[in-house]
């Protein structure tokens, strides 16, 4: 397995280390995801001056501030809306959204499906830790069945969203999922997403050790991460017909990849063509 020590990537080159100590809990998977993202940006040689990192509210939203680039920490659920305006106004910027399962699928769900539909060139990174960590551990649209959270004291009975299925159905032209354990694979998935022209959606299975893990006796961070693929979601291997909202399994890697017209390109081309047609008619 390739590790970061084999490349010339040094995460400290990309972080606002003067903001340290950061406020992520010990064992939180978000830092691993951020490392993989920065590693991908490094390998693609994307200029930090030209990058815009737009994030929402929650633990995921706070990660953006630690990156030494143009960072925008916006309102809850709305980073995709802000990013849409930013990218349309400034196609020259590389726009990356960092969001969470609550930010992206609950309060921001409408923006996600329409961002997927439009296919504007940006990368949306959803850090899925199955819980509202920042507010103290409430149930989220991705909380596994029967898990305890502060608002499901008897265990979660709600159906679980499969964010990648949702993004694919809504039209995202590149969709992928990875676990933090596979950091180099996650880095490669980010590289694919960043290089893809269109809307890319990457779900990172992260872990909330401190709140969610503790509440559900899921072990320490290492144990949680090692069990990410199977251990903490035994019910996800159940019958998909009987439980249609429950994914049959959590596939990782690139799940969807289609070539579709990019929104900004098609908007500008469409207008240029129509304007020419109007001018020709009026002559």
């Amino acid at each position: 397995m390739q590790g970061t020590e084999h490349s010339d990537f040094d995460i400290r080159d990309y972080l606002r280390t003067d903001l340290f100590p950061h406020f992520m809990c010990p064992g939180c998977g978000h830092g691993i995801a951020l490392r993989a993202l920065l590693w991908a940006l490094h390998e693609l040689d994307i200029s930090m001056n030209n990058l815009a990192l737009v994030s929402g509210i929650g633990c995921s939203g706070r990660t953006a501030a630690y990156v030494d680039t143009n960072t925008m920490h916006v309102t809850h659920g709305r980073p995709l809306a802000f990013a849409t305006g930013l990218k349309l106004a400034r196609p020259d910027l590389e726009v990356v959204v960092i969001t969470g399962d609550g930010d992206c699928l609950a309060i921001g769900g409408n923006h996600l499906i329409h961002a997927c539909r439009r296919n504007l060139d940006m990368t949306c990174v959803m850090l899925n830790n199955e819980v509202y960590g920042m507010t103290g551990g409430q149930v989220s649209p991705t909380t596994s069945n029967d898990r305890f959270t502060t608002t499901t004291p008897l265990g979660n009975h709600e159906p679980v969203f499969d964010a990648c299925e949702l993004a694919t159905a809504a039209g995202a032209s590149l969709v992928g999922r990875e676990i933090t354990l596979q950091t180099p694979s996650l880095k490669d998935l980010f590289k694919t997403a960043l290089s893809h022209r269109g809307f890319s959606f990457v779900e990172v299975i992260s872990d909330c050790t401190e709140i969610y893990g503790r509440k559900n006796d899921l072990g320490n961070s290492t144990e949680m991460i090692l069990k990410q693929k199977s251990g903490i979601r035994p019910e996800s291997y159940g019958n998909a017909v009987e439980h249609p909202f429950r994914p049959g399994d959590w596939k990782t890697g690139i799940l969807t990849r289609v070539e579709r017209p990019e929104y900004g390109d098609s908007y500008r081309q469409h207008i240029a063509t129509k304007q020419r047609a109007v001018k020709t008619v009026t002559k």
Binding site: N70, A81, F82, T84, G85, L86, A89, N110, H111
Partner: protein, 385 residues
């Protein structure tokens, strides 16, 4: 001389005049969501923006529209949206973000009444207080209220200028009647139109503090891509842009933020006075109601009654010095409004000592000159005792 260099007289619907003024003021991004009675603003922007290399997008909802406008503005493009009462409510959180992070934006609100869906096609002045206090926490905002199609044009241009210069959201409150009214507008030649841009950060990126005040209380804005690599957040932030909870720092930055308009009242204040010098009965009215009041004042004067009109064009912050200065002779103040009584509270505060009466219509009809004249007569009789 080319067409664009000349003044042109055009017959325009208010909402269309708004869109044309926005483009003339340099707006190159519009994100919106259809809502009566403002939709013509979006429709006209959809037609106009492509012609000038701008971008129009109809978003999935009102909240997204406001978010996209702020994203575009952060990117350095003058941006606008238009809405009405219910949509305006939905935009409030992101409007607050624009206030806190000091992101220029213009929001057109072609008003209706409420609560809730109200009467979408009927006129009302329902959002006077929402414009000022609609977002949570303490707010800093400018609201303009034009009274004619020509003024929709001039005030929309002014909205962009104020927003860019002062880094504050500017709301233009338009009455449905004027939004849908067709009137003659003199479109200024492009070279005579005063268009103000944003002050962009320049100088070294090293140790740059995006909210530090250097000579001006309005910080220059760093343009993404220019190398400053700054942080923008809705969290209370220090001069460096990063969140802080240090009481001394918070007190300092919040005092600057909430007070920043106070130092620019010469730029912001805008009002009209009609026969105010010796006015014993003073009408304070805005928008379409001010036009009825204007006529009522003339009718009253013809009857020998000393009536006058104070018409705020900038509604928030309210031009309170100007109002105080015309209340010298006033024995009574009347505030006619097409709502249950909103601006009357502010007028009551400013005119402390002078009785302030209200005249309200909440039935989806405009207040007529005769209604106002009748109240002037009653107030004059009462004052005469």
């Amino acid at each position: 001389m080319t067409n664009s260099a000349q003044h042109r007289i055009r017959n325009l619907q208010g909402n269309h005049a708004c869109a044309l003024a926005a483009v003339a003021a340099g707006c190159r991004f519009y994100a919106g969501y259809p809502i009566t009675p403002s939709s013509e603003v979006a429709e006209r922007m959809a037609a106009e923006l492509p012609r000038v290399g701008g971008t129009f997008i109809q978003m999935e909802d009102e909240i997204a529209s406001m978010g996209a406008v702020l994203g575009a503005s952060i990117g350095g493009i003058k941006a606008m949206t238009a809405t009405s009462g219910p949509g305006f409510s939905l935009k409030q959180e992101n409007l607050g973000y624009a206030m806190g992070a000091e992101i220029p934006c213009v929001v057109i609100n072609v008003m209706r009444g409420g609560p809730s869906t109200g009467m979408p096609t009927r006129p009302a002045q329902g959002d006077v207080m929402q414009a000022r206090w609609g977002s949570h926490g303490d707010t800093v905002v400018i609201a303009l209220v034009p009274a004619s199609v020509a003024e929709i044009y001039s005030q929309t241009v002014r909205a962009f200028n104020l927003s860019e210069q002062l880094r504050v959201p500017v709301i233009v409150l338009i009455d449905e009647i004027i939004g849908h009214l067709v009137e003659t507008v003199e479109i200024p030649a492009s070279d005579t139109l005063v268009v103000t841009g944003r002050k962009w950060a320049s100088g070294p990126a090293e140790d740059f503090k995006p909210y530090a005040i250097n000579g001006s209380d309005i910080p220059a804005m760093p343009r993404p891509g220019a190398g400053y690599r700054t942080h923008i957040t809705g969290l209370t932030h220090a001069e460096d842009g990063f969140p802080t909870q240090d009481p001394a720092v918070v007190a300092r930055v919040m005092t600057r933020l909430l007070g920043k308009l106070d130092h620019h009242r010469d730029l912001i204040d805008c009002y009209e006075t009609v026969a105010c010098d010796d006015a014993e009965i003073l009408i304070v009215a805005y928008g379409i109601t001010a036009r009825s009041a204007h006529r009522a004042v003339h009718q009253a004067r013809a009857q020998g009654l000393a009536a006058g009109l104070f018409r705020p064009v900038t509604l928030w912050p309210f031009p309170e010095q100007a109002l105080r200065s015309v209340t010298r002779c006033a024995q009574a103040v009347l505030v006619p409004e097409m709502n249950g009584g909103q601006l009357c509270w502010e007028v009551d505060r400013i005119c402390a000592g002078t009785p302030v009466s209200r005249l309200n219509r909440i039935d989806g009809e405009s207040i007529t000159p005769d209604q106002i004249q009748q109240r002037i007569i009653e107030l004059a009789e009462h004052a005469g005792h």
